[in-house]
Symmetry: C2
Subunit: 211 residues, 2 copies
């Protein structure tokens, strides 16, 4: 009935399983990952994955929800920051870029698993509310009314920002393969492209008020 003490070990078994599952699921997806892959990566017996989590599916859902929450939380924090639209665009792009540079498989993982089981995303209503009622909406509408930016909806603006950054990492395996890029070369290219995107989006948006 009581929880184990487990005073000193650097990680509890449960946490080690979760960390291994995160790594393996991110790399191979739900279909490509096996329970044995995860157990091996965690250095534990196969039966333990089902002892702590009841099934591969349940373990996956746990991981998936943690990852998507991590993914969206940083974004929505920036969307609701009390800063100018110009700053917000740059900050959001820089944030997503940093996040995906550190976790290149993140976006692919989420997109694939949402496709495999769309209801999963539908159930995370917490995230939906956050995204639907962000400060960005009002901000864009106000600036459009004032004529300081082109007429555009916040949805199109979000899509513009996100597409240009996220696709860099979604397509990273193909890009590096086709252009024979090393990891370093890709990093440099991606960084340069990120700056280009900030420049392009802001220039396009604020064109009417140019110098």
């Amino acid at each position: 009935m009581k929880k184990a003490m487990n005073c000193f070990p650097s990680q509890s078994t449960e946490e080690r399983i979760k960390e291994a599952a995160r790594q393996v699921f991110l790399e191979k997806g739900f279909d490509g990952a096996t329970s044995r892959d995860i157990a091996e990566a965690a250095g534990i017996n196969i039966a333990l994955t089902n002892y702590y989590f009841r099934s591969k599916e349940k373990l996956f859902v746990t991981i998936f929800e943690e990852i998507t929450e991590f993914f969206f939380t940083g974004m929505s924090a920036i969307l609701n920051k009390p800063i100018s639209l110009r700053e917000k665009i740059a900050e959001l792009i820089e944030h997503d870029f940093r996040m995906l540079r550190e976790n290149p498989r993140l976006i692919n993982f989420i997109l694939n698993e949402v496709h495999r089981n769309p209801e999963r995303m539908g159930k995370m209503i917490g995230l939906q509310k956050v995204l639907h009622h962000s400060m960005l909406d009002e901000q864009v509408q106000r600036e459009v009314r004032q004529g300081t930016i082109r007429p555009i909806s916040s949805m199109h603006l979000m899509t513009m920002m996100v597409s240009n950054i996220h696709f860099l990492f979604v397509s990273k395996p193909m890009t590096t393969q086709i252009w024979n890029m090393t990891e370093d070369e890709f990093t440099k290219f991606a960084d340069a492209h990120k700056n280009l995107v900030i420049d392009m989006v802001t220039n396009y948006l604020f064109e009417s008020e140019k110098a």
Copy 2:
């Protein structure tokens, strides 16, 4: 030793298997698709998939190479068309948009399978040559030299165009789910966004020669 006549049936068994495999692999990916899925979709016995193609893997490679060739052929044709840069940008975007509107899973499929096995793309050297020596390169360099467009490499330009269109479809499952969109609403949104992208890219690129 001889090939079957098979005069009238609308499709040969081999072609029916390939068509079913195309559909199932596109929808579920290699890991998610089973031989039985494909056989059932084709309406044939399971053993026939291994009779005509030697294994699931071999069948997959056949499908994969056909699909990637289809994917890149149209693109490279436009890249080498003798038209102005402005026209080329619009045509490429329109082409990719049409292609992915008809086959929304195409881009996801290719990107995932390249990640799962990067060597596959490395072996398709035919496509690599085509992409590396396109007319777009010289065209961009010339216009940059003449100062008619911003200084930019063709690689960044390609990435800009492709990201904005392809990501629309890569993220379609998540977009429709988060914003509770119907198929029609998504189509309309995507179409509007495509036009926005053409406007943004050309405006940004040709900004120096504005009206």
